[in-house]
Symmetry: C2
Subunit: 341 residues, 2 copies
DNA sequence: GCCCGAGGAGAGAGCGCTCTCGCACGGCAG
DNA sequence: CTGCCGTGCGAGAGCGCTCTCTCCTCGGGC
């Protein structure tokens, strides 16, 4: 039960006075205590305790030029951010890693094109030491903004342009190959694909994996969705109209797979007997809730978030001018077999 | 294309020099420009532009004692945070309101009991001006922490203790009454309830609403879940075992309703013919994806988030010592009729 | 034409911290 | 016993900004 000094929080000065040392020594103790003799360390520690001293972050970062915070920028049209647990999970991984290093997470949600100015100003303002950014479309202005602000930034998902920026991504192409390979191993021959929006690399990479395994496949077997349940349903209807004889579907995420599943059932196709279905993500709350439960390609979403944070922190520690920008990381995927294929 | 001065960003001093005015005048212009004659204002504005000046937030908040940031504290066991779009949506509303006022959002996720120390230190450290906190269990230490830190805090959801803290909550009790009233109007007489965890007021309030309409109901008609799909399924199994003759279920959220739906189907009960089912939340991605689509009680989640932020900002503006802590707000609910009841 | 008041601009103090520098003191070698 | 080096501590400058206080200037009223 520490006393409350309303209005005037104790300063380092006060701590120093109470401990009978100089401000410099008090500062040394607060920041690790190296080079100070034990008895003095104890005295200062005690003074800190008694006064309930907490360093003023503004004063500190004014001189250190470090804020101890990083921005997490989520640029995604309405629909996806709050229907897709993907981001929550990735942010969770990021949060864990950051708070383990006592770094704070400032969340910047981009709601519309006007927001980019705000974000840009915020980054150049030096509120944060670095940034993590998500889910770029090919024409996303974010990389240009973070570069312009001179802000070290790690991206989530491979950016859709040749710039050499550090990123963390799942092995989308390999995962897709595995999904299709599984369907082939079940004896399926008319394998359709419901792709995500093709201005995102996650979609194009998964499509590329599909094509790797089925180079001869009829283009009519591919339909584009938008990573939402509804778009998956729509794409499935299209595919059934175009190629009624299809016997398998690989959807680029679980949400679209669940939409497809509903449409398949409405058309009287049994899953997996008539049509085998594989998703992507292994979003447990979706994949296990469908009937039948979804066979899907699992990516370690939380781990990817953790990796992004780790990469950024490492880059920050070496200084931006250090031996190298952090390099990128591709995380493996695994096929999770449930009942739908 | 502003020139980049690596290492040395321009200061107010530099702007003042370039504009041929004093630092004080430059500051006045940057902060609104009142009391400065137009020609000087223009000169300063131009200098700001040319140098690409952005104020140093640390220096600023060192003297103003305002950070321009608020904390959003999410204390929720793993499972729920990333399976439930609830939070994402509420955070979205908060983010919109905050960024409209140029206030930043610092996200603090509580991963375990050890984190409370970290949070407490962070709040007392003065990193933020105020806080928004979520989803308290009855024994949650958060209110004590924010009070101890002297931090103005608006809660999301009615806290489970008598303290007079400002909060924003949906009309859980009224919504529950409406759900049950609807089931009664359909002629159902054996109406069961799948409650949420009973150490949260959202659950107890919804249960209270159920009891308001059915004061005589057999206690065996109520089972407790945990707001997850799996727990909803489990609760439904229990209820069917205890009261096989039930003809309606009101679940305290959509996730549990979807779990219940699966179990009902597994037991050969048709929905809505044999058993009518109503959920709560109107989580569109769930309620519309079930088969049949879920009748549910809608709460305006994003709006609630926006309101929380508005309440906090207003309180902050008046100063904590102002005429009054912000008062609480209860937002209305509406019944959304789909096919399940 | 003079005085007074209002309003606009500048000087300077400080917000709370870190960090460099210099000084003092103790131990050891010569 | 003296000189030198290493270590521990304190003094003080300064990070970039805001804001008060003072000074100056200009306009209006008598």
């Amino acid at each position: 039960m520490t006393e409350q000094y309303f209005g005037t929080r104790p300063t380092l000065e006060a701590v120093a006075a109470r401990a009978g040392v100089s401000r410099a020594t008090a500062s040394r103790v607060v920041n690790g205590g190296t080079g100070v003799r034990p008895p003095l360390v104890d005295k200062v520690r005690q003074a800190v305790e008694e006064l309930g001293y907490v360093p003023n972050p503004a004063a500190r970062s004014l001189v250190t030029r470090r804020t101890g915070a990083v921005a997490v920028i989520v640029a995604e049209p309405e629909t996806r951010f709050f229907s897709d647990p993907f981001f929550s999970q990735q942010i969770r991984g990021i949060s864990k890693e950051l708070s383990a290093h006592d770094v704070q997470l400032v969340l910047l949600l981009v709601e519309g094109p006007d927001d980019y100015g705000r974000i840009s100003r915020y980054l150049t303002g030096g509120h944060v030491d670095g940034a993590l950014a998500f889910s770029l479309h090919d024409d996303d202005p974010l990389p240009a903004i973070t570069r312009g602000a001179g802000m070290l930034t790690v991206f989530g998902g491979r950016p859709g342009f040749p710039a050499a920026v550090p990123y963390v991504d799942a092995d989308n192409r390999g995962g897709a190959r595995e999904a299709v390979r599984h369907l082939l191993s079940l004896g399926r021959r008319e394998i359709a694909h419901i792709a995500g929006p093709l201005d995102q690399t996650a979609s194009t990479d998964r499509l590329a994996g599909y094509r790797d395994m089925l180079p001869e496949a009829d283009p009519a077997l591919v339909a584009e969705g938008a990573f939402t349940t509804a778009s998956g349903a729509r794409a499935m209807s299209e595919l059934l109209a175009r190629r009624p004889e299809l016997d398998a579907v690989f959807a680029a995420n679980d949400l679209m797979a669940s939409g497809a599943l509903r449409v398949l059932r409405e058309h009287g196709r049994r899953v997996p007997e008539d049509v085998a279905l594989v998703g992507f993500d292994d979003m447990v709350s979706i994949a296990e809730a469908t009937d039948p439960p979804l066979t899907t390609v699992r990516q370690e979403i939380e781990e990817m978030g953790r990796l992004m944070a780790r990469l950024l922190l490492r880059g920050l520690d070496q200084g931006v001018a250090g031996p190298g920008a952090p390099s990128s990381v591709i995380t493996p995927t695994t096929l999770v077999r449930r009942a739908s294929a």
